[in-house]
């Protein structure tokens, strides 16, 4: 059991898969000699050479499309989009092509491609560079969308995503990159896609989150446990397929559900989960399902405004306490 950063865990998964399967290759802007803007691919260009760690021009639509073509022809491309904010110019390739090819070719050919890209806010990168757009993709049939929140999951899910025969949007997180955690020793360790995990047990409230918001949720649970309130934290890990059953199982126990996410609540992950929970757990609920998301504004530059827009621990805690108050629990 070694401690690694989230960034190192991703790098190790890429390294292991490059070594294991000659069909795997990486593609993206500055991922070779420069080692990637966030250094996830550091050392891999030197180790595997420019054929398998391919530099691209600044042309997301072009190289995502190239990845789709390579995947259709049997390779397993792992395409890096520098941040999720830059994925929008490749939207047509992802939604109209990657997500639909297996269906439109009658199952004859698929797109075993991973697009890995970090999102998240908090570094005053302002409106165009602070977004969490994963829910937009998670709404599209044909896509798989994952967003691990721990070092072990980053490693295990990256390997599973690369081995998956369908397109996977692998959402990393800028703040998570430096988070340290325990890596399993098992070199064959993998984590299945589409399975949520209860990362902290509790009886009073189910708090659901994904990506870096899981870390915030765990801190809120720690804080509130000092007041004798025990929050169960569910890490979704995958947004599509969505493991609503694990969430529902938790809500059946706690009778209350709060969903926190860094993206906007409107039409967001919480919106989808709230609908599922109301259907799966209607007779178990003691209060309406509640959501906390980023403020519904373009992310401001000003630090105080940025902090005000983020779903920080204080907001999550206030929402949790509000739900508990509605349930007559102080």
């Amino acid at each position: 059991m070694a401690d690694l950063t989230y960034r190192e865990a991703l790098r190790r998964a890429l390294d292991d898969e490059l070594a294991r399967d000659p069909d795997v290759f990486l593609m993206g802007e500055e991922i070779g000699r420069f080692e990637g803007s966030y250094k996830v691919t550091a050392g891999l260009w030197q180790k595997y050479g420019p054929e398998r760690v391919r530099e691209t021009p600044i042309s997301e639509e072009g190289f995502v499309g190239a990845g789709i073509g390579a995947a259709m022809m049997g390779l397993r491309p792992v395409v890096e989009i520098m941040t999720i904010n830059f994925i929008l110019v490749a939207m047509d390739q992802i939604i109209n092509h990657a997500a639909k090819i297996r269906y439109m070719f009658g199952g004859a050919v698929g797109v075993p491609m991973v697009i890995r890209t970090p999102g998240g806010a908090g570094a005053q990168l302002t409106a165009q560079h602070s977004q969490s757009l994963e829910a937009w993709f998670a709404g599209c049939p044909g896509m798989k969308v994952v967003a691990p929140a721990s070092v072990a999951d980053a490693y295990g899910m990256m390997k599973t995503a690369i081995r998956d025969d369908d397109p996977v949007l692998f959402c990393e997180n800028l703040v998570m990159y430096n988070v340290t955690g325990t890596m399993p020793d098992d070199p064959d360790y993998t984590v299945p896609l589409g399975r949520a995990a209860v990362v902290r047990e509790g009886r009073d409230l189910t708090l659901v989150a994904h990506s870096y918001t899981v870390q915030r949720a765990l801190r809120v649970a720690d804080t509130m446990s000092r007041d004798g309130i025990e929050i169960e934290v569910v890490d979704l890990r995958s947004l599509r397929p969505l493991d609503a059953e694990t969430v529902a199982e938790s809500v059946r126990k706690t009778s209350r559900a709060l969903i926190a996410e860094e993206g906007w609540s409107t039409y967001g992950v919480g919106a989808e989960l709230a609908a599922r929970i109301h259907r799966l757990c209607f007779d178990d609920l003691d209060a309406p399902v509640e959501r906390v998301g980023g403020a519904e504004v373009p992310m401001p530059y000003s630090k105080p405004l940025e902090l005000a827009a983020l779903p920080l621990e204080s907001k999550i805690e206030a929402a949790a306490r509000g739900l508990l108050a509605e349930s007559g629990i102080a």
Partner: protein, 437 residues
């Protein structure tokens, strides 16, 4: 434009507030900064001030009633306006002609009050009569409350065979929604088919009837929650000692005869507070809080002093007691205790203690163990001072003996730390002139 005043958040931990009493009537004009009502939080009674000038159009929550944070408690607006313009519910205000209120030079007398109250008893009756008027007018949720039940509460009640009809509007959720916790209470109280409190008369000053069930006041709720949390999460250990108070009592008598004309009177408790404060500064390891896996050291001894109320208790805080002479401690304590009993403490006066003193000596208690008030790391429980035979230099003599028990948080300090603190308190009280320097 009229608008709703809502129950404000007056303490970090409050979830609901009780209107102690209104200081304005319906129809009264007020200026920004005027105190409109006294609101009881879980910790103290606080003044509720107006942010802007206006006129009270309707009081929605009467004296003694409790509502959740953010719930409307009154409708205010311009003189002559009716409450209906703000609140879609309710037509009660139409019984009070707006023109009359506008025309009347002294609005207090006319608009809100069919039968003007004598000025001596301001807020009580008006709000009751107004809520009656509302009830008569069939004013929405409050008066003729619909039965709202959360899904799981409904399922649990069904399974337990409880008829929730009488709980309409009485649940602890928003707008009286019956929630899981309410049903759990009903089940555990054994009142299965006869919902608790549904037929009980509103709590008054009368003695509780046999088997009567009453809601806890916010203060009692806070005590229940905090003490349960403390006993369940703070690993208490106890060190006990007997303190020879003979010289301290002599000193006290001397001081009080000297201070007789000043109005000051030093109590045994004042000496204990002073001794504790000085001892805490000498023993930093017994004067730190365990918070979130860390030790928080305290530079000054802020001593909480438990004050018994008719029903419950409150612990006002004497800040920086280590820097204050006994006489100052005595004065401040008397002031705090007096206002504690009157429910007039401010929020900041009941926060920030680093240690507490609980004294039941006046009840002739030999000895007891107190529960720590987190995040404080210790509390001293003080028994009565009594004449007892003790052995001094091989002779049996009668001395004034006081038994004390120090409860300590073992995460903050060790047994030896606690024992050293207690020993210093004892030495100070047994050589009490040290308390004066």
């Amino acid at each position: 434009m009229s608008e709703e005043l809502v129950m404000p958040r007056l303490s970090d931990t409050m979830e609901e507030g009780t209107i102690g009493r209104w200081l304005v009537h319906e129809g009264d004009a007020f200026a920004a900064g005027d105190v409109l009502a006294e609101i009881e939080t879980d910790k103290a009674t606080m003044e509720f001030q107006a942010y802007d000038a206006g006129t009270v159009l309707r009081i929605l929550v009467g004296d003694g009633e409790t509502v959740a944070l953010g719930a409307p408690i009154a409708i205010v607006g311009a003189e002559g306006e009716t409450a209906d313009e703000a609140a879609s519910a309710g037509n009660g205000a139409t019984t009070q002609p707006p023109q009359e209120a506008a025309a009347e030079p002294e609005p207090k007398a006319a608009a809100a009050e069919p039968e003007p109250e004598p000025k001596a008893a301001p807020a009580r009756k008006p709000s009751k009569s107004s809520s009656k008027a509302k009830a008569a007018a069939g004013n929405g949720s409050r008066a003729t409350a619909a039965l709202r039940v959360s899904p799981i509460a409904r399922r649990m009640a069904d399974e337990a065979g409880i008829d929730l009809a009488a709980m309409a509007g009485r649940g602890s959720g928003p707008e009286g929604r019956v929630v899981k916790a309410d049903v759990e209470r009903l089940i555990s109280s054994g009142e299965l088919t006869r919902p608790a409190a549904a037929d009980a008369p509103p709590a008054t000053e009368s003695a509780p009837a046999e088997g009567e069930i009453r809601e806890l006041t916010p203060m009692l709720k806070a005590v229940a929650t905090r003490m349960t949390q403390s006993k369940q999460t703070v690993p208490h250990f106890y060190v006990e000692s007997e303190i020879d108070m003979t010289r301290a009592m002599q000193l006290r008598a001397e001081l009080n005869s000297g201070l007789a004309d000043s109005g000051d009177k030093i109590s045994v408790n004042d000496l204990i507070v002073r001794a504790s404060a000085l001892a805490l500064i000498q023993h930093p390891q017994a004067h730190r809080s365990y918070v979130d896996g860390k030790h928080v050291y305290h530079t000054h001894a802020n001593v909480g002093i438990a004050v018994a109320l008719d029903d419950g208790l409150i612990v006002p805080v004497l800040n920086e007691a280590d820097t204050k002479p006994v006489r100052e401690i005595s004065r401040e304590t008397r002031d705090l205790a007096g206002r504690a009993r009157a429910g007039k403490l401010k929020q900041r006066e009941i926060e920030g203690a680093t240690f507490s003193v609980s004294n039941l000596g006046m009840f002739d208690v030999a000895n007891f163990e107190a529960i720590i008030n987190p995040p404080e790391s210790a509390i001293i429980a003080v028994g009565a001072t009594v004449d007892r035979p003790v052995v001094v230099d091989g002779e049996i003599v009668v001395r004034k003996i006081m038994r004390v028990t120090l409860s300590c948080d073992h995460r903050a300090c060790s047994g030896a730390d606690g024992a050293k603190l207690l020993l210093t308190i004892k030495q100070l009280l047994q050589s009490p002139s040290l308390l004066l320097v």
